[in-house]
Symmetry: C2
Subunit: 206 residues, 2 copies
């Protein structure tokens, strides 16, 4: 025998369970989207083995926004960014860069560029530092999105910068700091290293 009250309570119970399921899945979705800063900083690694899958324009814009959020000396923002997703161009970049063969399997590349004339006090040192900070934000954004990336150096090598400039039509006064390969990491790929060394810290004085 099932009384009326029992039927009502059963309905309420089913509703409560469904609420729990919805809340649980919302939490899981949120957690996937919102990776906390320290876990991203410590799980970031140089990823060189990609599946070859595309990265997507939305992801690339999210990554570039993160790059431009980095500080620059006296807020001069001397950087600019070339984004490559075209397979032929990625392969062309790889062909002339000794340590960037992974570009042939990457979904995209971001070249962080910088200009001495646009940096604070027209100092090349700040142009390089400012672009470097944007580059680190880019690497962290890549990791936060569940993608993989690796900074391959163009600067300070004249031959590599020359190849990048020629491939992408970058003017001579613009310094291509790096070519950051970005892609979907292949399963079982690179793991983050623990690089913390207490002896690198000097408390109060050297």
């Amino acid at each position: 025998m099932i009384c009326k009250g029992e039927r009502t309570m059963r309905k309420i119970w089913i509703s409560a369970v469904m609420c729990l399921l919805v809340a649980g899945s919302a939490y899981a979705g949120e957690a996937a989207k919102m990776k906390d800063t320290f876990s991203v900083i410590h799980s970031r690694k140089s990823v060189r083995t990609f599946t070859g899958a595309e990265v997507g324009k939305g992801n690339l814009e999210t990554i570039l926004k993160a790059g431009m959020a980095a500080p620059t000396a006296v807020n001069m923002q001397p950087w600019s960014f070339v984004v490559v997703t075209d397979r032929k161009t990625l392969d062309g970049l790889a062909a002339g860069l000794p340590y960037a063969k992974m570009l042939t399997r990457a979904g995209a590349a971001i070249i962080v560029c910088t200009e001495t004339a646009k940096a604070y006090d027209k100092m090349k040192e700040f142009a390089i530092i400012d672009a470097s900070l944007a580059g680190e934000n880019i690497l962290l954004a890549v990791e936060a999105l569940g993608l993989g990336g690796v900074w391959t150096a163009a600067y300070p090598y004249d031959d590599r910068m020359g190849h990048v400039r020629k491939t992408l039509g970058i003017p001579p006064e613009v310094i291509p700091l790096n070519v950051i390969a970005i892609g979907v990491p292949a399963p079982g790929g690179e793991k983050a290293k623990d690089k913390f060394k207490r002896e690198k810290i000097h408390w109060e004085t050297w």
Copy 2:
């Protein structure tokens, strides 16, 4: 009249509600501790107005661990870090640095140091870039902890580097890249800038 089945269902229902409350509060706690990467990247700003409160050794170690997690060219890790919390030393640093007067109200300072001889291929360019990336991680970690920080330049100014070296006993071959002031932000202080500029992005080619 309440039948037996109804009482059982009522108990189950109360349990389900309590589960929901527990799950909800666990989620809120987690969110407070774990600030997501993109919100930290976009809320980071140069904080120059501090309350004068201490920062705490635990926080400083968390910040330094984040710094050392940044990548370095060929994993050479040419950096080291001087951490200052002593009031007299902070004031002494401020006295000789034109744009670091906020140190007199900061709780701490981290000086990111780097060595050309320890960088990949003994190249100064990589020593500077590697240390810059560690510096950006430090700024993000400061923000993630709810603290405030600002990078004040020592490099490439000989006089500023000289003052930092002399104050902290840093050897001449070590480059003090910056003095990052860290503290508890004063209420109503600096806000983050939106620096995203679509015209800084070149798609596929310059």
